[in-house]
């Protein structure tokens, strides 16, 4: 296979009719670094490919041979259990071999450089690097220095494209569309890679995105990126089809972006009372892990509107799709 050839759809019955509409579509990307750089068609192709993979998880034998013989490395410079586990399972369901490489960033800036680390890893015959790094742009740096696929599993506050994709996938599945949806992203937007990936993906597919949070967390500059910015959650909560609540990083309390968790919850938490102001069929989402009682109440997290666990489930199919498509662009020779 050579980069740029038409995408070969996975062989199973669930390969939907919609996917065939895009059968002439070329997947040109060896890497998935951002949603900002993808077109609407490319995002849709990932979503449709994910749809085709979804039933693999419900079979008795939860595997397809799409990545047999490929090696995926999870390269995590930042702690993560959920995302890494999800990528590991996704790769295994595609029959890839998976290894974990956990590195301390502190050793990188002093000793071995990031460039050396990834070149070493690639020299072991790796096909896909799934990387999370606390610095924005670090995964771009990795991609510039290797020939294998690089999938961004989060780079600082920049992007977390597979989270954005699985959120969009979940919205589309529950609501049947993205075009015209009104989506709120609530919380520490300025520091959130989840918010940025959601914003880019949702805008490209025609949704309206409102960023909600205190002025210190949701700067007006997000308007220049296409979002609406609101600081009074109660005033606008009734408008939304989807509310995506971001996790509050309690360690940011000392930096004066908000005075206390209590005040944050009063103003921006998805409490039981505030939920009454929302549309009855509003979709409640959260990238996890939840601070119950801070950004949302336990009742809301576990309630009928919540699709938080579906997000986790859908993450597998989306990550399978991303790894499948990117390795298609890799070609057989490398």
């Amino acid at each position: 296979m050579t980069p740029g050839r038409p995408v070969q759809q996975p062989h199973n019955a669930a390969a939907s009719a919609r996917a065939t509409q895009r059968e002439s579509m070329v997947w040109p990307h060896r890497n998935l670094l951002t949603l900002e750089e993808l077109s609407a068609d490319e995002i849709n192709l990932i979503l449709e490919t994910a749809e085709a993979f979804e039933d693999v998880s419900t079979r008795s034998v939860k595997k397809v041979p799409a990545l047999r013989g490929r090696v995926v490395v999870n390269l995590f410079f930042e702690d993560s259990t959920r995302t890494r586990t999800s990528f590991t399972l996704a790769a295994q369901r595609l029959s890839a071999d998976v290894i974990d490489f956990t590195a301390k960033t502190s050793s990188l800036s002093k000793g071995e450089s990031l460039r050396d680390t990834v070149r070493n890893i690639e020299a072991m015959g790796i096909d896909v690097i799934v990387s999370r790094h606390p610095a924005a742009g670090a995964n771009h740096l990795i991609a510039r220095n290797v020939k294998c696929c690089v999938i961004n599993a989060g780079d600082g506050r920049h992007e977390h494209p597979t989270q954005g994709l699985l959120d969009i996938y979940t919205m589309r599945k529950a609501k049947g569309r993205i075009d015209g949806l009104k989506v709120a992203i609530v919380g520490d937007v300025g520091n959130s890679r989840v918010a940025r990936s959601n914003l880019h993906g949702l805008l490209k597919l025609g949704a309206q995105v409102t960023m909600v949070g205190p002025t210190t967390m949701v700067p007006r500059v997000f308007e220049k990126m296409g979002a609406t910015v609101e600081h009074d959650f109660d005033a606008v909560i009734g408008e939304f089809d989807v509310i995506n609540m971001l996790r509050i990083q309690t360690e940011r309390l000392g930096s004066n972006v908000f005075p206390s968790l209590n005040e944050y919850t009063r103003l921006f938490g998805l409490t039981n009372d505030r939920m009454k102001l929302a549309k009855p069929d509003v979709l409640v989402m959260h990238p996890g892990p939840i601070n119950r009682g801070v950004e949302m109440s336990g009742d809301v997290a576990d309630g009928a509107n919540s699709v938080i666990l579906e997000q986790v489930t859908n993450g597998l199919a989306v990550r399978m799709a991303v790894m499948f498509l990117c390795t298609q662009a890799l070609g057989a020779g490398s």
């Binding site: 742009g137 771009h140 740096l141 780079d155 600082g156 992007e159 300025g190 500059v221 990126m225």
Partner: protein, 457 residues
């Protein structure tokens, strides 16, 4: 040639210190400026004989079509010696300087150890003398170890040859420390050069705070970080009467603060770098660390304001903030990579592009801002072609178009965003104390026996 006698013929002689701009010949005799005029060469009979009237050997340079001006002065350079000689030495930085037309440079004290006592000042001068390429003037630290706490021994450093004081690389954050420094430095009438950046407002920022930083998820350095400290310092300078110089200003707000301070008669001066006149924050979009410097690249409105500031004299002079870094360090991710880019070897055409070719200032005004004014600010007897002064002369071909090739730099570092760029205006010869230290056709003349005449502040 060794005797320091040169006749430069038929050049456009620009000397803002004497309001000269005419086609003329220039004679350097025994390392000093001897004469300027249309007939001096004929008068001495040097044209054909190859000798001066005194009978001494003379080097003749034909400068037809070229600009001939007092040697350029860069008052903001980072040499990495002592401490990081793999990135730059005083010798390699001096070579880069003459290759860029600079005959005098002032080096900042953020070395390891810092230039914060007379011994390090003397070390720098000694190494500069050994290199024997250009005049190097050490800038001493304002505070010991550049830690912003205790004043460094300014008086002893002045006696050893320090020409100004700065904690450059960081600002003096404590207002009382800065107040004391200004009061104390008045005694020596030396310039205090401030890197205007409030550390709390700048935080862990690595590029301009704004749309691009928000998009990329990179922490930002707001314009406010620069302007808050500058405004504070202007009040301190007004109170103390100290000579205060704002290093590498980069925002429209900073330009306006300096403009208003000057209108009120406060002793405030300012400088700007080529990249802040040519590039904006959007250049960072690909996380290329060659666009990471401090202050960071700002918005187009800031670039425009800085250009206007240079044109109307609000910004007094032009500097490189030459900041060498190794390729390995610059290969870190954007947040981890060090701030700074090199600039000595390419500053002249870049400033010409931003200011002269853009129609904002004339060549004489460019020479004034790259030579006469910085020399005056530092209080050094440079930046002039007056008879009897040192024979430091830069010859420029204003029309030559060439391509910037970092691999050919004399600097030990290559970190520049301007590689492969086509520029117009080229230094063809750099003459220091009557000796050709750089010729574009043969490169840097490293023979160092001629520096006996070098001025030590």
């Amino acid at each position: 040639m060794r005797s320091g006698n040169i006749v430069i013929r038929n050049g456009r002689v620009i000397d803002p210190s004497q309001a000269i701009d005419e086609i003329a010949d220039l004679v350097i005799e025994d390392g000093k400026i001897a004469a300027i005029g249309s007939r001096v060469v004929d008068g001495t009979g040097a044209a054909k004989s190859g000798k001066l009237r005194s009978g001494a050997e003379v080097l003749e340079i034909d400068a037809t079509g070229k600009i001939l001006c007092p040697g350029l002065v860069d008052m903001h350079v980072h040499l990495r010696e002592p401490g990081n000689e793999d990135e730059e030495t005083i010798a390699s930085g001096s070579a880069a300087a003459v290759a860029g037309g600079f005959t005098s440079i002032a080096c900042m004290p953020n070395t390891m150890p810092a230039i914060d006592n007379e011994a390090v000042v003397e070390f720098v001068l000694r190494q500069a003398g050994r290199a024997g390429l250009c005049n190097v003037y050490p800038v001493g630290a304002i505070t010991k170890g550049r830690e912003g706490k205790e004043l460094a021994e300014m008086g002893q450093m002045v006696r050893a040859g320090a020409v100004a004081f700065s904690d450059d690389g960081r600002g003096v954050a404590n207002p009382n420390t800065m107040l004391r420094a200004m009061q104390y430095a008045r005694m020596f009438d030396k310039l205090l050069i401030q890197h205007c950046e409030d550390p709390d407002l700048a935080g862990d920022g690595c590029m301009n705070a704004g749309l691009t930083a928000t998009r990329l998820g990179l922490p930002g350095i707001p314009a406010l970080a620069e302007e808050v400290m500058l405004q504070r310092d202007i009040l301190l300078a007004e109170t103390t009467g100290a000579a205060y110089h704002a290093a590498h200003i980069s925002t429209a707000g900073a330009v306006e603060l300096v403009r208003r301070a000057k209108q009120r008669g406060i002793r405030v001066t300012a400088e700007v770098c080529p990249h802040h006149l040519l590039l904006t924050e959007e250049a960072v979009a690909d996380f290329d660390t060659n666009y990471k410097m401090n202050p960071p690249l700002r918005r187009q409105a800031d670039v425009d304001a800085c250009r206007v500031g240079v044109a109307d004299g609000t910004i007094d002079c032009l500097v490189t903030d030459h900041a060498p870094h190794g390729a390995d360090e610059k290969a870190f991710d954007f947040q981890a990579a060090p701030f700074g880019i090199v600039g000595l070897e390419i500053a002249l055409p870049l400033f010409a592009q931003a200011l002269v070719h853009a129609g904002l200032i004339s060549w004489p005004q460019l020479v004034e801002r790259m030579s006469t004014i910085p020399a005056q600010l530092l209080g050094i007897k440079k930046g002039t072609l007056r008879g009897g002064e040192d024979g430091d002369v830069t010859i420029i071909d204003p029309a030559e178009t060439w391509v910037i090739t970092p691999d050919r730099f004399c600097s030990r570092s290559r970190n520049t965003p301007f590689g492969s760029q086509k520029v117009t205006g080229r230094v063809t010869q750099t003459i220091v104390g009557g000796h050709v230290k750089f010729d574009v056709s043969s490169g840097v003349n490293y023979a160092s026996d001629a520096m006996a005449t070098m001025m030590v502040a």
